[in-house]
Amino acid sequence: MPKKETMKQIEQNLIDDFALLENWEEKYEYLIEMGQDLPRMDSALKTDDRLVKGCQSSVWFDIHCEDGSLVFSADSDSLIVKGLVAVLNEILNGQPAEDVLQADMSIFETLGLWRHISSQRSNGLTAMMGHIKQAAADCLKGQPEE
């Protein structure tokens, strides 16, 4: 499912959506809703080798490389982490691997979700991002640039 919109456009849409939310509570409500709207992950895929161990929650990622783009499904036992996964899903799912490699996490700061970007590497969001970028790099290696 390669996307039409660029990552920048999607990010701007998210920023606009979040800007409408009045306070933290609404922000988290919205994030949780985003998570609940995330396409369901086949529970057979929730195996240990797909587990990205976070500090306080578990996230499963199933990532494929399709025609140089990254395609993934994911789930978490935490509704908030699932919301963060949904944000990643919006922006990165279906994007060309080289764009994914360039992605940074500043969008989470802009959305007011800075707290989830911790500098301890084993932490949730940073760990997920590392996982996705690894897959993007593998994808690129399998598909040498022309």
Binding site: E25, E29, S78, R115
Partner: protein
């Protein structure tokens, strides 16, 4: 006249902060307590008027700083009712106090085939150092399990205690469940088998009576930062009969007597165990924290905190779907719980969105979580500046999160 407990709150400048534009409700005191203005001022004042490296300096600042530092050693000795200030060793915190004993006592007294006993209720800091020491020395690591109430079974303890046991290391209060262990009895049982006991007082020294002689503990460890003092300072109390026989842990600076390329001799107690430039400023901050606590009537303070805990437990129990962990006969300052269908992490983040600071996760007690077969809990924990209003805010916050998530 002792100080009114309800006046405490105003002494802590951070408690007037807002979080997400809401007033801060700080219920993460078992992780670290906040500091009264007098402690903060003691540090600033030290650096603005007295700062010097101590003990070996003879100029006026050095002598004044030495006297201030050693004055706190006496203050700590009297707070713990230790028989001598020489038994008070300043460390960075409970973790370092335990590591000091694990390395030094281990090197001197633990050999292959020996045994060390800890409990399943320990913080990693009073668990892993013993586990690793056992690996280094070839000793066996034994763990007293806890029961469905979150209490240690003393019969299990008696059975684990053998003539190979070299040391028992146990906390007075569990940081995860709040269980107050029958520590006097544990010490008595261990001593009847001639085994010394290290008591981890990290969650006790600020809430419960603290008399190392009455307790007859061989070692007692705690952290300043959990009793209104600065970070970076903790204490190891030890009986002289042990401390004198134990080799130094870290070396260099203060703790040396004489050095040649073939021989080193060490300074007397307590200096033998204090290597390098001491953290004078934070030790002075610890002194200010003890002065702060001593303004209160300690029995009254204890009663206040117990009342607060009961109030909080009752409030939480009334919330449908909320489960409190442990049901010990005596619990101190800790409220550990989960709400059905809500991940502990989510609950913590959403409470924070309402300005309420609690901790979530394993609380450095994986053995407890493994035994309970849960990934973690939400933990609210109390200090002397907390009020019923804080607990009302917590209960109200939890209910709003439930409504939000269960819609």
């Amino acid at each position: 006249m002792s100080k009114d407990i309800l006046s405490a709150r105003a002494d802590f400048p951070i408690l007037t902060q807002t979080v997400n534009d809401l007033p801060l409700v700080y219920l993460d005191n078992a992780a670290t307590t906040q500091k009264p203005q007098s402690v903060i001022d003691a540090i600033s004042h030290y650096y603005s008027t007295t700062n010097a490296n101590i003990h070996r300096g003879n100029h006026t600042l050095a002598v004044q700083a030495t006297q201030a530092y050693e004055g706190v050693r006496k203050k700590v000795a009297s707070y713990l009712n230790a028989s001598s200030p020489d038994q008070i060793i300043f460390t960075r915190g409970t973790t370092e106090s335990v590591n000091l004993v694990a390395y030094s006592f281990g090197q001197a007294f633990v050999k292959e085939g020996d045994e060390i006993i800890v409990s399943q209720l320990e913080h990693h800091s009073n668990y892993v150092p013993w586990e690793l020491m056992c690996q280094r020395q070839g000793a066996t690591f034994r763990v007293i399990p806890f029961d469905e109430n979150g209490e240690l079974n003393l019969q299990d303890f008696r059975e684990l205690l053998t003539d190979k046991t070299r040391l028992v290391a146990i906390n007075h209060v569990s940081n995860s469940l709040g269980t107050v262990n029958p520590i006097e009895e544990i010490v008595r049982i261990a001593h009847s088998a001639n085994v010394p006991v290290l008591v981890d007082g990290a969650q006790a020294v600020q809430h419960l009576p603290h008399d190392v002689q009455a307790l007859d503990a061989d070692f007692y460890a705690f952290s300043g930062h959990k009793m209104y003092a600065p970070m970076g300072v903790g204490v190891l109390y030890g009986k002289k009969e042990w401390l004198e026989k134990m080799p130094p842990f870290q070396s260099g600076g203060e703790m040396i007597d004489e050095v040649t390329p073939t021989r080193v001799t060490f300074n007397v107690l307590p200096y033998k165990f204090e290597a390098g430039t001491p953290n004078v400023a934070d030790v002075i901050g610890l002194g200010a924290a003890i002065d702060y606590i001593n303004q209160f009537d300690f029995a009254q303070l204890q009663a206040y905190e117990e009342d607060l805990l009961t109030y909080g437990l009752d409030l939480l129990k009334a919330i449908p779907g909320l489960k409190i962990y442990g049901n010990p006969k005596h619990r101190s300052a800790i409220l550990p719980f989960n709400v059905e269908g809500i991940q502990h992490y989510d609950l913590g983040i959403l409470l924070d969105a309402k300005g309420i600071a609690v901790r979530t996760g394993q609380h450095c007690t994986q053995p407890i979580m493994d035994a309970l077969q849960i990934p973690g809990t939400v933990r609210a924990s109390l200090a002397l500046y907390n009020t019923r209003e804080d607990l009302d805010a917590l209960a109200h916050g939890i209910q709003r999160v439930i409504r939000l998530i269960k819609r």
